[in-house]
Symmetry: C2
Subunit: 769 residues, 2 copies
């Protein structure tokens, strides 16, 4: 099943007489694919169970239907826009690869895996959303009888997203690997999967950007004109933007975060498989398949975890969700240990240390979630300090919130640094007895295992995350259909748990993004090395390859790398600025439409006629989709521009460290005596790495700052500092409004941007050389 | 005049039979020192002229005296605190150097130059301030007769600061060079000057932090309790914090920015001299003395520029100031060209290209100033968009301001990137015919010349900057002493010009900081190379030095460098957060004291008795000085900690790129067969470079965002969107208050932090190896 690509162009060490893949090892691929397929079936069954539940009163159905229609309309138009952009990019990639005879043979496979990645991501988003917007009404209806029923309906609805996302990522990568001939030529085929990650990233970027702009524009717009101008409460059915607001919860939090995690797992799968290929002499194909098996375990443990969750009417729903998470984590840890001992063994390997890497990743995930809680929950100092500052007005509230936001990266950075240093060290220790591989490759593989450990509960976490918008919507439906107080209490409880899970997932997402980033850099460096090796080898006697050469030198003291780094950091600021401004502009359109509706139809405010919800939904849909294009194109375009420009200027700016050794032997690969041009590849690496660092810190500032503002307001609403309607509360509302586009648009979009930078550089690497 | 340090420890290429310094070249040092001394005399004469002017009415004098006493009390206590910290650090450096026999011989000289740097910086700050707080009343008094008289009094008062700062920096570095034996052993002695830069940085950090916290705490505190609570106007003499507020303008803007520019020129002098030493074979000692001559030219052209400024009662004072700036720039350019053609010549050198580097730096300065204007003046889109957003309340004002702030780094980053690429290219071209030196060293020297070009008008710019607080104070004195409307109009005009110059100087300061940063990295790399070379040479036959080796490889793909980079970026966020929180806490103490005074003495509000200004000044002084210690120590401590920790872990994490060439020859310096441990030095380099990138971007966000908020408020006050007292204005006041600690505390402190990171690593480099 090999498509006949001239393998000479992608020669790696496997060709130096490496052993072929054994049948007993190949079984792991089939296991992974089998579990992926079973998980899809499980998701289907879960969806059936959820959808077969009672759908409440006609009043409730009317609202739910409006949300559903709005969300589906948005998704349909969004996917159309993304589809057009994806096809354009596919064409660009295809012809970009065809511009040089050296890359042309890979054009088709790269485009295929790009499109498969995009389609899988879109499919995962669509399925999850399909269930979520139907689970909300079932949750609302179940809340009329028991909290447990409502909790289970919401979590199972969320679990469909979690399972579908992880399973499709696993199946997508696994099937491409199989069909591209991975079982016969694994170390080459891994490089042909990079398109999958890029496809996933592209969809994720636009899904998160478009969804994020939509959700906050609708929210801010509805509040500005409803609460502030018209003086009606939140979720009041007279507000024409109220349905748009509820739709936003789905398209932003649910579809957006789903695409984000899909991208994470896809990029991590591909990156870890590339690094696994570098260790083929040690682990054989098992090292390449290991990440797929980790996600298979992830699926099994998450299904069991979700099934275990039940609660009583008096319990805090968060406790029940946490129980499920502990079960999932424990099972994932056992499964991880099993996989490490059965797959990552070989001569000189000490699997215990490698398991230590995985545990490091899991502990990192816990710490990130804990730190996020510390900064965003009202029982700790940061939120309380913002609430206190609200006493002296909005200005001090904002200053205090920004100061908290700027403080937030400190602890996570220390945790990530410790995780990198520890897992690198464990990796070196675990592979200490292996010969022929340097400490660097061993340590880097350790950090890759840590990333897999961190993502080993992704499906359950995503289920908890999607639980958030489902319960939020359920609460809105209960509110708008005027259900009794007791039912509202139940959905309020669930909603509060949902807010917590949403915040925690953001902490988890940025943690995994920053740890995965290092894995993806390493994959990029490995890929550059593979391409250079192939080209030099293809040049025959005109080429010279220094023994043991690898592309592991991203020298910040070289001008192109430094300029790339500057531009990468700048990109994260400019991108955030564009995203935030897009929310403002779109919100203004919402405000204008609501004002128009109130003026054109006075019966709305009188309660005698219904507002035109769909018109508002349609306006915000169109505006959000238009606004997502510019920042999206900037994110895609800048790394490409940097790579291509510095490829052509390399002769002036390259070679900071000498090119020849003391004995006059070339230290870098040469063709016809000229060093291989690495200027473009280096500048892009600088952009990627420093852009990631800057993006991670900015995202933490915005996510945690925004979350802290939100909860400072809620804390005051609970009665502190004068409670609702006090001056402190008014000041806190200002902070909350400022935090909204931070934490729900720009921050999450930055997570996605970071990974997009990594996957785009992986795909376009051949063009930078 | 050589102190007998064992030169073997600092061997560089000069010892390989380089020609000695010729008498005719040494003359340049004497010229530079002579001009420096003359500039001090000129400053003295200017001060005499300013101080001999009329000091107005007794009412005016009473206010001016209160400001003077407050400022002098703050400065005295601040320098005491800084003095203690400096002595502690001097002891730490001394014993740190003594911890190893290899660094012990340099302990004394390093400590001496550190203390000289600190004292010079302190002296420059004190002198500038001494004149400024006396020039304010003369300016106010002169405004009663003519605008020209007032303008000249304020500019000449400011020029004293400008001249003293640049002259003391020139004389300090020049004299140390001379006394350490620079005329006999120049290429070694330059490394013994690094302490000077660190001393300047240390004083600058605390001066800017303490002054910045003071100025904004007094401002915010006075406004909160005066304007908001008591309902009295700004600068009302009944407000006990009003004198503290006026004192703040001096200690923050005047002393703080003076220390900032002193640090810039000191660090740039030392860094450029180190790079000049690397080119000793080409230029001789002239390359080392070139930066001193550039500053001598800077002094002469600035004196002439200041003398040229005069205006009429009807002219916009900004035009007059600009004329002086154009004269200064033109003279500086001519002088620069003269210096390049007479000093930077030699076999194979094309001075025209090197002049191009200098012009690139000057153009970069212009562009930075222009971009700053674009983002902070009300005639352009950014400020207008913030004003418009104020119509929908404080939340949208803040969101819009933050979006503008995040957009601001984009253009400057492109300009800096272009400047680096161009000046590097020009440097390579200019030294193209020189043999024995690689392209990299040539290009880097080009970027150094660009930095010198950028700083070649520093004295005039600093004069314009100090003009700001002098006119601001003069306006306050006129306001508080109830002078006639016509006089107020004149000081208002001057004050408005002062606001503009202050904003522009901030743009200039961050631009020079970012360009100088690359120069300082390069000096650090050069220093590490010199130390390693000395150690390997000292090891005799046990040492092995690969031919042409240089420490120019800061590899971001190595874990210690990456972790250092993460921590460096994080430092800039945490530091900003601490600075902003310090302002909040100190402002609360101001609010409390003013409330206490109002309660204890009801006669204050009735106007029958005077408030106790000194008590408020004393409280804010104590609090600001206490608050500056933690962020300051963090800034000093983190790079040291990173360097020392990674020095000890280098064996695990080092050597990403192979250590041996294809033929088995070591590529890195070894002693007894073991590679020299570069882990600590590399991690610190990562921290330095990425910390600088992150700091530059954050500072731009805060400076320009803050400036834009400020001017959006002023634009509304001019009558747009309802003018003063409108809801839009209230919203804009919130934005202005948020922007205050951004633009006057955290942002400028970040400029200083960036350079401190560079100078501390230069001084402590020997400890990291």
């Amino acid at each position: 099943m090999h498509f006949g690509v001239p393998a000479a162009l992608f020669l790696t060490f496997q060709d130096a007489g490496l052993p072929p893949v054994t049948q007993s090892d190949a079984i792991w691929l089939w296991i992974a694919l089998g579990v992926g397929a079973l998980a899809l079936i499980a998701a289907f069954i879960l969806a059936k169970i959820v959808l077969s539940a009672d759908t409440g009163t006609p009043d409730m159905q009317a609202i739910s239907n409006a949300i559903r229609e709005g969300a589906e309309a948005f998704l349909a138009r969004q996917y159309k826009t993304i589809g057009i952009l994806a096809v354009v990019l596919a064409v660009v990639v295809f012809f970009g690869y065809h511009a040089s005879a050296r890359t042309a043979p890979f054009a088709l496979k790269t485009v295929i895996s790009f499109l498969v990645g995009a389609v899988c991501s879109g499919l995962a988003g669509f399925t999850g959303m399909y269930v979520s917007i139907r689970a909300n009404i079932r949750t609302a209806s179940a809340a009329r009888s028991s909290l447990n029923g409502a909790l289970q309906a919401a979590l199972r609805g969320g679990a469909v997203t979690g399972l579908v996302v992880v399973a499709l990522s696993l199946l997508g990568v696994g099937c491409l690997f199989l069909f591209f001939g991975g079982l016969t030529d694994p170390t080459h085929v891994v490089y042909q999967l990079v398109g999958f990650g890029f496809g996933a990233s592209l969809v994720a970027l636009f899904a998160q950007l478009g969804g994020g702009i939509y959700t906050k524009a609708a929210d801010v717009g509805a509040d500005l004109v409803g609460k502030v101008e018209a003086g009606i409460p939140e979720d009041d059915p007279r507000n024409p933007a109220v349905i748009a607001d509820l739709v936003g919860d789905n398209v932003g939090d649910c579809a957006g975060r789903g695409a984000d995690i899909f991208e994470s797992t896809a990029a991590e799968n591909v990156g870890a498989m590339i690094l696994g290929a570098a260790l083929y002499p040690v682990f054989g194909i098992k090292g390449i398949l290991f990440p797929l098996i980790v996600h298979a375990i992830n699926l099994i443990s998450s299904i069991i975890g979700v099934a275990m969750v039940k609660t009583t009417d008096t319990e805090d729903p968060m406790s029940a969700l946490n129980r499920g998470f502990y079960v999932t984590s424990a099972l994932a840890l056992c499964g991880f240990a099993f996989a490490v001992y059965h797959m990552l063994n070989g001569v000189g390997v000490a699997p215990g240390w490698l398991l230590g890497c995985g545990v490091t990743g899991m502990v990192t995930a816990f710490l990130f979630v804990w730190i996020t809680q510390y900064y965003t929950e009202s029982k700790y100092r940061p939120v309380q300090s913002i609430a206190e500052a609200s006493l002296t007005g909005p200005a001090t509230n904002i200053i205090s919130g920004l100061a908290v936001g700027m403080e937030t990266p400190a602890m996570p950075v220390v945790v990530i640094s410790a995780a990198l240093l520890l897992s690198y060290y464990f990796g070196v220790k675990g592979l200490d007895g292996v010969t022929g591989i340097g400490n660097y490759a061993k340590g880097i593989y350790g950090t890759a295992i840590a990333t897999m450990g961190m993502l080993s509960c992704a499906a359950y976490i995503l289920a908890m995350d999607t639980f958030g918008p489902i319960t939020d919507n359920a609460g809105g439906i209960i509110e708008m259909s005027n259900q009794p107080e007791a039912v509202r209490d139940k959905t309020d409880k669930l909603d509060s748990a949902g807010n917590t899970t949403k915040a925690l997932t953001k902490g988890y997402a940025i943690g995994s993004a920053s740890l995965a980033a290092f894995l993806l850099f390493s994959a990029y460096l490995e890929e550059i090395k593979a391409i250079v090796t192939a080209r030099v080898t293809a040049a025959g006697s005109a080429g010279f390859m220094p023994a043991g050469w690898s592309f592991t030198n991203i020298n910040l003291a070289e001008i192109p790398v430094f300029v790339g780094a500057l531009l990468g950091a700048m990109l994260t600021y400019l991108f955030s600025s564009l995203a935030i401004k897009a929310v403002g502009r779109t919100a203004q359109m919402v405000v204008k439409d609501v004002r128009d509706q109130f003026r054109e139809n006075p019966g709305i405010m009188a309660g005698t006629s219904k507002p035109d919800y769909a018109r508002c939904v349609s306006i915000v849909t169109g505006a959000a989709l238009k606004e997502m294009v510019l920042p999206g194109c900037l994110a895609v375009g800048l790394p490409v521009a940097v790579g291509l420009i510095f490829r052509n200027f390399s002769s002036v700016y390259g070679a900071a460290s000498g090119t020849f050794s003391a004995t006059g032997v070339s230290l870098v690969p040469t063709i016809n005596g000229l060093p291989v041009n690495l200027g473009g590849a280096s500048a892009v690496a600088g952009l990627l790495m420093v852009g990631t660092i800057s993006g991670v810190l900015l995202a933490m500032l915005m996510n945690n700052g925004g979350g802290a503002w939100d909860n400072a307001k809620k804390w005051i609403e609970s009665g502190v500092y004068g409670g609702k309607k006090s001056d402190a509360h008014k000041a806190a509302v200002v902070g909350d409004t400022v935090g909204d586009p931070f934490k729900d648009t720009a921050g999450p979009s930055l997570h996605v941007l970071i990974k997009l930078l990594a996957t785009i550089t992986l795909v376009l690497a051949p063009l930078f050389l």
